[in-house]
Amino acid sequence: MLPSRFEYHRPDSLEEALHLLAEYGDEAKVLAGGQSLIPVMKLRLAAPAHLVDIGRLGLEAIAEADGRLAIGALARHRDLERSDLVRDRYPVMAAAAPLISDPIVRNLGTIGGSLCHADPAGDWGSVMLALRGSVVLRSERGERELAISEFLQDTFTTALEPDEILTEVRVPQPAGPFGGTYLKLERKVGDFATVAAALHLSLSDGTIESAGIGLTAVASKNLQAEDAEASLAGAEPTEAAFAEAGRLAAEASSPVTDVRGSAEYKRHVVDVYVRRGLARALEMARAA
């Protein structure tokens, strides 16, 4: 199908873009890579009267500063996939990026767009939960930073106000020996995840300082397995500890039975992936 009619705006600056959003409010949607928005518009599940194209505003830098990684909202999945900085210091992101959709979609899709789309089956949301990431939201009224756990509210629902643009994603620099990964079960490349898990471990004197566990496609939004994380904080990184974390994470999940599998199967995969992912994270942290 074709989208319904809309007015297209391609502002030359962020200020102009913010002004357009202030003017058109909830009649407008921001167009970044379009790899989620355009399919939704073609199905007419969304029919914004105005599109504000921010694709050429240059918001795509990936750099470390002030104790954190700052990623421009327009950084394409492919840019993150190929970033040496991400590969060397943010293994959860490095593991997730190549698994998002397919290589052609990754040439256009953006991390900012993905987070704003807030599909519970979206990958970056889980990664950012595991890494305690945050987002910077700008409007003509000012700027605010929100933890990703506050930003992602519900299925396709975020804290983004109609006059706001997500301009930057921030990830704290990892502490101590660290390791992490992203495990994704999908029927084929390009399919949404059946289940996926983002795992991150920071060690201190051989014990777990902190753990991050973000789960994809097992709840109404990306899920932070808080009980599982808490069970690992301060603990010895043993197989038993990981098994308990897996059990808690599976318990916290509420997947639905659908074409990709039964709820019971998906919960089982959560358990397996959390245990497996934590073991990999530990191996990586010890090798560091």
Binding site: M1, L2, P3, S4, R5, F6, E7, Y8, R10, L31, G34, Q35, I38, P39, M41, K42, L51, D53, G55, S101, D102, P103, I104, V105, N107, L108, V189, G190
Partner: protein, 166 residues
């Protein structure tokens, strides 16, 4: 909205609705029907074109987004009546049956070879994982892309007999 897109090296203008898809601009406005609309759900990659050298799915981009940018379609591979090495390789290695996925496969393959002239089988399969083929089982597509890579890297005429457009 008036837009100008450089298509296969030549500036083309059109007056389009913002909601016109790039795939339809290419096929219906510009008459270049080598780019195919397969699934319309961003899954199959039959609509793949190169945007500023990078493969993108033209069914998932609005024509207006390509204003002022460069698009390469499968028609842009032919040079002065000579098949591009990637086309010659697909012919030589029988990398197609019905041909519906082939323009997308060749453009994606070419973009891969521009970065990696000697890809392994796994690297080719990874690069084309956004392009679906229902006919071939992919084996000859992989061989064709690798053969084209060898041709382009070494300049040897592995597929020379196939280069004349017939």
């Amino acid at each position: 909205m008036q837009i100008t897109v450089k298509v296969n090296g030549a500036d083309r203008g059109a007056d389009v609705e913002p909601r016109m898809l790039l795939a339809h601009l290419i096929r219906e406005e510009f008459g270049l029907t080598g780019t195919h609309v397969g699934c319309d759900t961003t899954s199959c990659g039959a609509c793949t074109v190169l945007l500023d050298g990078r493969p993108i799915k033209s069914c998932t981009m609005f024509a207006v987004q390509a204003d002022g940018r460069e698009v390469t379609t499968v028609e842009g591979l032919l040079q002065d009546g000579q098949l591009h090495p990637i086309q010659a390789a697909f012919k030589q290695e029988h990398g197609l049956q019905c041909g519906f996925c082939t323009p997308g496969m060749m453009l994606t393959g070419w973009a891969l070879l521009a970065e990696n002239p000697t890809p392994s089988e796994d690297e080719v399969r990874w690069a084309i994982s956004g392009n679906i083929c229902r006919c071939t089982g992919y084996m000859n597509i992989v061989k064709a892309i690798q053969a084209a890579g060898r041709d382009m890297a070494t300049g040897t005429a592995e597929t020379a007999d196939a280069t004349a457009a017939s």
